[in-house]
Symmetry: C2
Subunit: 276 residues, 2 copies
């Protein structure tokens, strides 16, 4: 019996198979649902399932933002459990949850997201230091993406602060690379400002970057592709709303698939050759 | 018909009624359950209910760490929903979730915890800046506690970094006080090191502090009491394991009540007169 490959091995394989580092983001906001779906948990589940069914085979990875399920309480979590259970077995699953807490609590967060839902990777916050992150990596073969630079307007409030001449996001990027020099800990680096991607890649050549903010948020695709891959691990460029809301009419699933194909085409044109 | 008082008004009233700022922390780790309870979601729910029933009337506030429910997936969330629904209506409820995300996502996190579960306050992370916090305060009358200083061993990894001569935790404390100068945004300030409490209180006289780390984690009760209250809002000192695991035998509920009473007595002796 062969061992199940590690999440990093599976990520490498998926990125190689797909040829571009496209991560399809599933952020099912009730206001963004196709017109034919109800604005409730059933609609959110059908939207997520439809997007996964329409784009899953095209994607190198899937990122599900769990807050959009959590907002419906236990019914939302039950929907998330069903959606995740039906994913293709070889799909690389990121649960975007931005967790992290003192050790005993982080262990339970990791149990929820990795143990129970089977995430290959979880997004985590650096603010509590290593205690808050190690319980996720204690799940054998799994990965984390540590927030370094987020793509929201107020990202710079703290992330731009300079510590001993270095921006805080750079300090975090270097810390992650120094502490987990094996590719299992990647970084979230928003793609809105290309210079930020270049700056953090120069500081941390090893980790893969998970790059949100491309597409609807206006991030730069070329910069995302140029900098997402690390020397230890592939990176991913996440496209969320630009695929999910390609159409809100009855053709939404076909439109999402076409949009994903178009983004893959743009990535190929941009010369996104596999660098790892 | 009278309007429901704001969470801050209710917190003031509860702290005044109880006479000391005791917050009972419900962190139902499966390994910490009384011996008679099963090590599963049913045991966690019975443990939480038992603790609330034994100590709720004594407590100025209740803090539930939701990761211990989340670890059981939708069944855990359903248990959390039942536990919260049965709280006394005047109880001040903090959901310790350490959330925060880009705006549209934070709105859904706030819907989950404030809209659906009715939390008076949620713990939130500062790393993404104001966008990640404002959606919680957009729920009228509700409160947040922003992580400034956590009580875990690696808290200092980033929280001690100096930015323009000021530690990052101080920078965050000042930022919260400057940005929300009305008491609705408090700070989480771990009680393990008394000097940290004094340092942050000197920088931010206004906000209430939620002080974890007292009791089992060895924090200093007197320092917590001395510094928890702000000029704009009362603070709270959280006692969790020292009450919850006072006995693991069949007398666990009575033991928890006795332990809570003993902590209240210690707080009274320490001269915890209501300062706000």
């Amino acid at each position: 019996m062969s061992e199940r490959p590690t999440s990093l091995e599976r990520l490498r394989r998926r990125v190689a198979e797909v040829g571009v580092p496209i991560c399809v983001g599933i952020d099912p906001h009730p206001d963004a649902l196709p017109e034919e779906l109800p604005r409730n948990v059933e609609g959110v589940e059908r939207f997520a399932r439809g997007l996964l069914s329409a784009t899953g085979d095209l994607a190198a990875a899937i990122k599900i933002n769990i807050a959009f399920f959590e907002a419906f309480g236990s019914a939302g979590w039950a929907a998330l459990e069903r959606v995740v259970a039906d994913l293709e077995r070889d799909q690389f699953l990121i649960l975007d949850a931005k967790r992290g807490d003192i050790r005993t609590t982080a262990e339970r967060q990791a149990e929820a997201l990795m143990g129970r839902l089977g995430a290959d990777a979880v997004t985590v916050s650096p603010y509590l230091g290593e205690d808050a992150i190690e319980p996720f990596l204690a799940h054998p073969g799994r990965m984390v993406f540590v927030l370094a630079r987020t793509s929201n307007p107020s990202a710079g409030t703290f992330q731009d602060l300079r510590v001993e001449g270095v921006a805080l996001d750079e300090r975090i990027a270097r810390w992650v690379a120094d502490r987990w020099p094996d590719g299992r800990a990647g970084l979230v680096v928003g793609g809105v400002e290309p210079a930020v991607l270049a700056r953090l890649r120069a500081i941390a050549p090893g980790p893969g970057f998970l790059v949100p903010g491309i597409g609807a948020q206006g991030g730069n695709l070329e910069a995302g592709l140029e900098h997402c891959h690390g020397s230890w691990a592939p990176g991913l460029v996440t496209i969320s709303r630009a695929i999910a809301t390609a159409s809100r009419g009855s053709d939404w699933e076909a439109a999402a698939r076409s949009a994903a194909q178009a983004w893959i085409g743009r990535m190929r044109e941009a010369g996104a050759t596999l660098s790892v």
